[in-house]
């Protein structure tokens, strides 16, 4: 996992190493400074030697300046390295997601992908910053300080040597207990946020059913649970600082006692007063660095879950990719399905499409009809290879879709998705998704084909009208027509409309279809619809049920051969429901 994340450090390796290097210099100085301070007390203050005091004083000032410079440099490089690392992580993830197939996209919810690129990267960035600074600093500090105490006095060093692992064990124990508790709390926070989000979204439902008290109670339960578990976690953490103090104070007391004893016994020859003072400082330093170290571990522990979530994104292999020596031209709009079966889960017992055999000639118009959940959308998504068939073959332009360059294939097969999206930007910018080099004339032409020209011209800013995120400032029908225009701009060989005119009135709907017939006769058109009138005049109508083709033919053929088709047709077109009268 760490290896995979580390790949994103790249050009920030130097900064990271420099951070660690300058941190080490800083540590060396921070160790030397108390040593010199001790000398200043011993040789200077104690002896009343002003010149010595000044000498050491200036050396100390010089060192403080150096230490400041190193500190500032390490801080600087650290900021560069950690921000850069985070940037690369975000970039790698975002770019990786761009290579995902529909199958990969379906695996992660959009909300989860967004959190991973934002929040999770933040946690990892914080941990990284900790690692290159603190995780270098505190062990170094510990070692230097420990060695220095041993140099001053072996016995005193032993006290600290024994105390350190004890403290570390204590801190790690706290961590061990607190970690699962925090994990629990994080999950509960998710529940809490989820409840709030649902309630914000569903205010009208809650109010309509008068479920306010029910929801308050539901929320209260979760918030109570959080209170309990979080308090528990914090309670465990409350041991942290007393434990630290216990360690520091006990060491101080022991050092005081033994130190005093040694000084008195030896008459100040093996240990002197200044050195004792220095020992106090090392004690603080050693124990502090242990605490910092435990904080690093906490941080790493917190970010571990995030790191995992990031690696999941990076590790996901797109299951659809370009073949070797791909074909870069689609010759015609012919489509053929040969014994195609499909399952979203690769589970053969849960097939969404079963044994589809189908031949469509270039330029034909095909209508697809079927009930909710009959796999209409699934069927057409195999044509531009949004998914791969589980078994069987899909051919476009007489060649297997798997042999094409993906970009070529998808440029030639334009799909207007059922759940379509416009992006924030002007209408023109949105349309140009279909073809970035399209001229204004071309844009106007496709808008006319999609019957969108009229309402666009009615906007004060016409083609420069700004579309809000999600296209909230145009109506459903307008949005659908813009999406059709966008797809037309690609000049595809095959055009697929997946229930793309459901919010468009019948008249406009038929106008669009007429325009298709007259203006793009060579393009193969596949139309999924719920209205029979939308597909009545197609060359071929396919009736799907439960992932199988149950009937196929022209309108008049189907009226004769298919009961179901006849039923749908009459229920939709028979005038006047006299049931209530």
């Amino acid at each position: 996992m760490i290896k995979k994340l580390a790949r994103s450090i790249r050009e920030y390796k130097t900064s990271s190493i420099l951070t660690a290097l300058f941190v080490s210099f800083e540590v060396v100085l921070e160790i030397l400074i108390p040593l010199l301070m001790a000398e200043l007390i011993n040789q200077g203050i104690e002896q009343g030697q002003m010149s010595v005091i000044l000498k050491f004083g200036f050396i100390l000032i010089g060192m403080a300046i150096m230490s400041f410079i190193f500190g500032a440099l390490s801080g600087n490089f650290c900021a560069k390295a950690s921000s850069g690392f985070a940037k690369n992580l975000r970039k790698d993830m975002f770019h990786k997601i761009q290579s995902y197939s529909f199958y990969n996209i379906d695996k992660f919810s959009p909300a989860s992908l967004v959190t991973r690129i934002t929040t999770d990267v933040n946690y990892v960035q914080m941990a990284y910053q900790m690692i290159i600074r603190v995780a270098v600093r505190s062990p170094l500090m510990l070692i230097f300080a420990m060695v220095s105490t041993f140099i001053i006095n072996v016995k005193m060093g032993l006290i600290l040597l024994i105390a350190s692992p004890l403290l570390l064990t204590g801190l790690l124990l706290i961590l061990r207990f607190v970690h699962p508790q925090f994990k629990k709390v994080v999950k509960e926070y998710d529940d809490l946020n989820n409840t709030v989000q649902e309630n914000v979204r569903a205010t009208r439902v809650v109010k309509a059913y008068v479920r306010e008290d029910y929801e308050i109670e539901k929320f209260g339960k979760i918030s109570d649970q959080i209170y309990k578990d979080y308090s528990k976690a914090r309670k465990i953490l409350a041991f942290n600082s007393p434990l630290m103090q216990l360690a520091i104070y006990s060491c101080m007391i022991l050092i005081c006692y033994f130190g005093a004893k040694i000084i008195v016994d030896t008459g100040g020859t093996t240990l002197n007063v200044g050195e004792l003072q220095t020992l106090f400082q090392y004690t603080m330093q050693i124990l502090m660095s242990l605490m910092l170290f435990s904080m690093v571990i906490i941080n790493i522990a917190i970010s571990r879950a995030s790191a995992q979530r990031i690696v999941e994104i990076l590790d996901e292999t797109p299951n659809i990719s370009n073949p070797e020596n791909p074909i870069t031209k689609v010759n015609s709009g012919d489509i053929e399905f040969k014994n195609v079966s499909f399952s979203y889960t690769d589970d053969i017992s849960k097939l969404c499409l079963k044994d589809i055999n189908l031949k469509i000639k270039s330029g034909e118009t095909i209508g697809i009809l079927g009930g909710t959940g009959s796999s209409k959308s699934t069927l057409i998504s195999l044509i531009p290879r949004l998914y791969d068939a589980t078994s069987g073959k899909v051919l476009v332009g007489k060649k297997d879709v798997k042999d094409y360059n993906l970009e070529t294939l998808r440029d030639s097969v334009a799909v207007v998705l059922q759940k379509n999206v416009l992006f924030s930007g002007t209408i023109k910018e949105n349309l140009k998704w279909g073809n970035p080099n399209a001229s204004d004339k071309e844009i106007e032409r496709v808008c006319k084909l999609a019957c969108a020209d009229e309402f666009i011209e009615n906007f004060p800013n016409k083609y420069e009208t700004y579309i809000e995120q999600g296209g909230t400032n145009v109506s459903g029908g307008q949005k659908q027509r813009l999406c059709i225009a966008r797809a037309l701009l690609k000049k595809p060989k095959i055009l697929i409309l997946d229930d793309s005119t459901s919010a468009v009135d019948t008249k406009t709907d038929s106008m669009i279809r007429r325009a298709f017939k007259e203006e793009i006769p060579k393009t193969t058109k596949i139309i999924i619809a719920q209205r029979v009138t939308s597909i009545m005049d197609a060359d071929k109508i396919i009736l799907l049920d439960g992932g199988k083709i149950v009937a196929m033919g022209t309108h008049s053929q189907l009226l004769k051969t298919s009961e179901v088709y006849k039923d749908i047709y009459t229920s939709q077109t028979k005038k006047g429901g006299k049931k209530d009268a």
Binding site: I45, K87, V200, R204, S231, V264, G371, D505
Partner: protein
């Protein structure tokens, strides 16, 4: 303006204090005492070491007893012990206080949110409301759990250290004050710079997150249009900008600590030199305890103290930022809590009744499917009359804000048992009318009567209970399919749930779900198709079995065949009850008793399908496809 803002901030601070003191008075007092003990103990460690060093000198020079050291160490151990216990206890108590306060605020905020008018949710984005529960509460928590205790203890430490310093030497304390001022100046400059870039970073984060959100949600469209490369380029640009601002912001933040620390070293040296001078030249030392000669121990103690001084100061200055952040968050939380709740001055209540042969009504507790209005009068009498489902609008005007009226002079009457349909373009006011019936919004002018009662006199909850509504946006809740259907009637048995699902034609697909009725739905039923979600929300309304029903584009994503089946089921269920229907497909509303054609907030045609066809007006044009419904 800035003054008002700072007033608001101090108000939020006061209110947070109010939450703290409300139910935790004793604990807070206790925490305060404990913090004092802990700070005294930590400050005195420097004093003790100085004392001991002095005493060692005494032993060596004057031959004092070694036992003196032991006494001193014992006292030191006791003081330290007290400090440790105190700090443990106050940390523990603070956990309960802060978590308790957070729980109170959260619960209160949520309860308040439930009572807010629908309008509040129209005028605030979901993200904005959500962030009050997440970001704002988080920063409040940070403040309560960390900043406040740390600041109290830091300030106390600073005060004690200062007092001790004064008790040792006033001259040396002056040096400290000089450095203190210097440090504060640096904090201000660096803090200002760093804040500027932190703000820039926040803006960048917002922009980048927005981009990611939009693009990830449109990822499938991006694939279909081969737009990956453009998308990467767009992202890279924002990402670079974010990285630039983050680097700057962190740089300043990272430099802060080395500056403080090394200023501390500098201060240490300066004190050593000045202290040394004072000691060598035997300058009379002035301290709070009087005049004396400065000792080696004094200087050592003072140097220890000076090191203890730097730490809490940099801690306080770091906490100030998080407190400002938390107060800004608190302000947003209180803003929501202070928003006026939905008003309800109704007094007519909805009850279940039993009807005897003569048609007399008696109130009963259990559900009878016969409802009645219980109407208390001014003279103290109460009348009960049966709910019929007669809804009338008299010259109703309405606007989401007062300047912009969107409904004009709407008059209509729905006779009991009738099916009333609304037809019109997007934005014509169809949904708005139905939202007025259950008082999601209050009308600006006119009157709405329900069975002859002004709806303002009916208790809102009871009014809403009497009206079942199925919205186009389905909004399912996390939970099992069964729980979601039961949302309409919490007391419903499993049998009733199955029945409702069958009626809504949802039974079929539910049976095919992995765990059938016990399948968990997550994030608004993301694992279901839009049509399936609508079927579930119809089942939810069916189980509520309300005397009046509103179907707002309830079947827009259901194929026409299934729609027909659902409609037959609903017709059977609602037989004899009033139903309002909004639908895009005219075939859905053809069999209504009355169809209202709306245009720009006015009813322009009304009548049955046949009447309207004969009229050859707008409806006729729509029906024959001569007019666009958009």
């Amino acid at each position: 303006m800035p003054k008002e803002k700072s007033n608001k901030k101090s108000n939020s601070a006061k209110r947070i204090l109010h939450y703290i003191f409300k139910s935790h008075k004793i604990q807070i007092a206790l925490v305060f005492i404990l913090i004092i003990i802990a700070s005294v103990s930590s400050v005195s460690s420097a004093l003790f070491t100085g004392e001991i060093i002095d005493y060692i000198g005494k032993i060596m020079k004057e031959g004092a007893e070694f036992s003196g050291i032991i006494t001193r160490i014992t006292i030191m151990a006791i003081v330290f012990g007290a400090g440790i216990i105190a700090s443990f206890l106050y940390n523990l108590i603070m956990v309960y206080i802060s978590q308790g306060v957070l729980k109170d605020i959260r619960d209160e905020m949520f309860a308040k949110m439930q009572k807010l008018p629908v309008k509040y949710f129209d005028t605030h984005t979901h993200g904005d409301i959500m962030s009050r529960y997440t970001n704002d509460t988080d920063s409040l928590e940070q403040m309560l759990c960390q900043s406040i205790p740390q600041i109290i203890s830091s300030v106390l430490t600073i005060l004690f250290v200062f007092a001790f310093m004064l008790s040792i030497s006033i001259y040396l304390t002056l040096v400290i004050i000089f450095f203190l001022i210097f440090m504060m100046l640096i904090t201000k400059t660096i803090g200002g710079k760093s804040r500027k870039y932190f703000i820039a970073q926040q803006v960048s984060v917002g922009k980048t997150t927005g981009y990611i959100e939009e693009m990830i949600n449109g990822q499938k469209v991006i694939k279909v249009f081969n737009h990956e490369q453009q998308n990467k380029d767009g992202f890279d640009k924002l990402n670079e900008e974010l990285c630039f601002n983050a680097t700057k912001a962190n740089k300043y933040a990272n430099i802060f600590m080395p500056i403080m620390q090394n200023l501390g070293h500098l201060q240490y040296v300066v004190i050593a030199i000045i202290g040394g001078l004072l000691a060598i030249f035997g300058v009379n030392n002035i301290s709070l305890t009087g005049l004396s000669v400065i000792t080696l121990g004094n200087i050592v103690s003072f140097m220890g103290l000076s090191r203890q001084f730097t730490m809490p100061i940099s801690q306080v200055s770091q906490q100030v930022n998080s407190i400002i952040l938390a107060l800004a968050g608190a302000e947003r939380i209180f803003e929501m809590m202070d928003t006026p709740a939905e008003t309800d001055e109704g007094y007519v209540t909805l009850i279940n009744v039993e009807k005897d042969e003569e048609g007399n009504l008696t109130e009963v507790e259990h559900r009878t499917n016969i409802w009645a209005w219980k109407h208390p009068h001014h003279d103290g009498t109460t009348t009960i009359h049966e709910l019929k489902g007669d809804v009338r609008f008299f010259d109703v005007d309405f606007g989401y804000d007062k300047e912009k009226i969107v409904l004009h002079d709407v008059s209509l009457y729905a006779k009991p048992g009738h099916k009333i349909a609304f037809v019109g373009a997007t934005g014509a006011g169809k949904t708005t009318i139905t939202n007025l019936i259950n008082r999601f919004y209050d009308i600006a002018d006119g009157k709405i009567r329900y069975d002859g009662i002004n709806i303002n006199k009916i208790k809102k909850d009871d009014l809403r209970k009497s009206i079942g509504i199925v919205l186009q946006d389905t909004n399912l809740f996390t939970g099992t399919v069964k729980e979601n259907i039961r949302y309409g009637n919490l007391a419903a048995t499993d049998e009733q749930v199955f029945e409702a699902a069958k009626l809504a034609n949802a039974d079929d697909f539910i049976q095919r779900l992995p765990q059938g009725y016990d399948t968990m739905l997550e994030s608004d039923g993301a694992n279901l198709s839009q049509g399936q979600r609508q079927l579930l929300s119809i089942a939810r309304a069916a189980i509520a079995n309300a005397p009046v029903m509103i179907l707002d584009e309830a079947t827009s994503s259901i194929d026409t065949h299934t729609e027909k089946l659902v409609q037959d089921g609903m017709d059977a269920l609602m037989h004899g009850r009033t139903v309002f229907v909004i639908a895009h497909r005219l075939s859905t509303v053809q069999n209504s008793n009355v169809i209202m054609v709306l245009d720009h907030g006015r009813i322009i045609e009304k009548g049955s399908h046949d009447d309207l066809i004969k009229l050859k007006g707008k409806y006729y044009q729509l029906y024959t496809g001569k007019l666009e419904l958009d």
